[in-house]
C-alpha cells in the first residue's frame, strides 16, 4: 500500500487474517491531537476488501467514537497472541455506525476465536478471559474506514515496514 496512490484493496490473506479473531485495539485522536484507545470486539471486511469495520462497545469506546466523529482518523492494531503476528492499519475517513443486526454474531464469533487462541497459550484462566472480553449485546456499535496505510508490527527486523 503506497501512501500517495488511491488505497488498494486489502490482500485476501490480510483480509482473512484480520477477521480471524485477533486481539484488536483501535485508536483515534481529537482536535487537540490527544489520543484515545478502545478494545475491539469484532472485525469484518467488505466484499471488495476496501472497507474495514471494527465492532466496539459504546460505554468502553466513548472517547474513540467522539474522536472519530471529530477527526475521521483511526489506527488499529491486530495481533494473534499465539504467534505474535501483528499488523497496523490506518484510515482517514472513519465513521461511526450504529449497531447492525450482524454485529452481535460478529462479536460472538470474534471473542470465541480469540479465546481459543489465548487458551492455546495455557496462561490465562477462562474466568479471567471472560471478564476481559465481556461484552454487552445491547451496547455494540462500529467504526468503519478505508485502510489507507498498513504496517507490519510483528516484533523483529521488519517491524514498522509497510505491508507489501
Amino acid at each position: 500500500m503506497s501512501p500517495d496512490a488511491p488505497p488498494e484493496p486489502l490482500s485476501e490473506a490480510l483480509s482473512a487474517f484480520i477477521q480471524s479473531g485477533l486481539s484488536i485495539t483501535v485508536a483515534s485522536r481529537d482536535g487537540g491531537m490527544q489520543t484515545s484507545l478502545a478494545r475491539c470486539f469484532g472485525c469484518r471486511v467488505s466484499a471488495d476488501r476496501r472497507r474495514v469495520t471494527l465492532v466496539v462497545q459504546h460505554a468502553q469506546a466513548a472517547a474513540v467514537l467522539a474522536d472519530v466523529r471529530t477527526s475521521g482518523h483511526v489506527a488499529a492494531v491486530f495481533s494473534k497472541p499465539s504467534t505474535n503476528q501483528t499488523v497496523q492499519l490506518k484510515g482517514q475517513d472513519a465513521v461511526v455506525e450504529p449497531q447492525r443486526p450482524f454485529d452481535q454474531v460478529c462479536a460472538g464469533q470474534h471473542v470465541e476465536a480469540l479465546l481459543a487462541d489465548l487458551h492455546s497459550l495455557h496462561e490465562y484462566g477462562e474466568p479471567l478471559l471472560r471478564a476481559v472480553f465481556q461484552w454487552d449485546p445491547a451496547d455494540l456499535c462500529s467504526i468503519s474506514f478505508t485502510p489507507s496505510a498498513g504496517f507490519i508490527q510483528t516484533p523483529g527486523p521488519s517491524a514498522g515496514n509497510r505491508l507489501p
Partner: protein, 447 residues
Amino acid sequence: MSAASVDAIRNCLEGAIPSTLATCSPDGVPNVTYVSQVEYVDHQHVALSFQFFSKTRENILLHPFATAYVTDGVTGASYRLSLQFLHTQTEGWLFERMKAKLAGIASHSGLAGVFRLLGSDVYRVLAIERVPGGSLPAPAPRRNLLSALRAASEALCAIGELSSLLDQTLQSLDAQFGIAHSMLLMFDAAQQRLYTVATHGYAESGVGFEIGLGEGVIGVAAQHRVPIRIAHMTNEYSYARAVRDQAIDAGFSTDAEVPFVGLAQAHSQMAVPILAADALVGVLYVESPEQQRFSYDDEDALVTLARQVGLAIRGLQCVETAVAEDAPRTQPVALQTQGVAAVRHFAENDSVFIDNDYIIKGVAGAILWRLLGQHAENGRTEFSNRELRLDAALRLPDIDDNLEARLILLSRRLDERCDFLAIEKTGRGRFRLKVGRRLELLASVPR
C-alpha cells in the same frame, strides 16, 4: 478521569496481559502499537520500553502525549492512562531493571534475541481512567505482607550474632512470606564479587558459590543497587550459563568452584540488594518454580527487610570489632582423628584443596591456609579476628573487610566438606581451629 496514582493499578504493569499505546503525529495521524513493558517508576510515573526506532518514537519526540491501555492480569480490569513523555534513560537502575525484565518477557514469548532495550522512556501519568467492563474480584492475598514484614523484622531484632542473623533472614522468608527457596550473598568489594554465605530450601547448601558484579539477576542487582524481578524464566540471566561463561572467560577449570544450587527451572526470580546506608553489603536472592510468583508488593516488602538486614549486618560487624566477650558460642564438634590428609594451596587464587577435594578460595582460602600453617608450625589452635586483620600476609582491606562473613563461609564449608577440620567460635572476635587428622601441607607454585 481521576487524579493519577499509579500505585493503585500496579498489578496492570506486571505484563501478564499486553498493553497498547496510542500516539499522534504533529499532523494528526494516530498510531497504535503493543508495548512490551510498562514499568512502575513511582506513584506518578511509568517507563515504557523503547526497543525499536518506530513511529511511536518519532511521534513522542515531536508531540509528547500518549494514551496507554493496561489490563490487570488477575482481575481483568482495564485502565486508560493519559501520559506525557518526559525523557529517555539509556543507563542506570531503571534501564537495567527493565532490561532484565525484558529478557524474561522476550524469552517467555519466544522472542529471545529479538527484543533489545535501547532505552527506558519515562512518562508522567496525567490521569488514570477505569474502562467500563467486566472484572473478577481481587483474590485474597496469600499473606498480609505488612504482618509478614513485621514478624520477620522482630525475629531479626532478637539476634546478636551474624551467622544466626543470616540463617534467620532466610528462615523468615519461608515462615512469614512463604518463599521456600532463598540465598544470601555477601559482597567482596576488593574482588568485586559476591559469595554465598547462607541458603535455604535446597538439597545442597551451595555456600561458597560466587558470582561477579553484573552477572545474572544477582550480579545486576548488586552492580546497580536495584531490585531485579523477573516473572518468567530467561536463559539470559540464568546462573548455569553465567557460571560457565565466567569460567571460560577466566581460563579456569570449574573445579575450584562451588556449583550454583538454585532451581534448574526458576520461572520467577528476584534479587534485592542489601545496603547499609549507600554501601553494598550483599544480595538477597529468592526464586520460585511458579511464574509471576513475586509481585511489586513482595518486592517492596523484601527491599524493606533487606534494608534492615543490611543495617543489622553492619551493626554486628561493628560490635564484633569493638567488644570481646568470653561466652563460647558454638557447640564443640566431634572430629575424625584417623589417618593423614594432604592440604594443597594454590597461591594464584588462594584456593585450598584437601585430598584433592575443593574446599575454598579467595580471602577465606588464604585465612585457612594461614591458620593451618600456624598450627603446623607451633601447634596453635586459638586465634582472634584482630590478629587476622593485622596479618599483613592476608592483605585484608582496611575497611569493610567482611572478616566475620568470611569466617562464617569458611566454617560452613569445612562443616560440609571435611570431617576432621572445624572452626569453633569461642567468643566475640575469637575462635578455635580444631584439627583431627595429621595434615601434610603442600604449597603449589603459581602456574
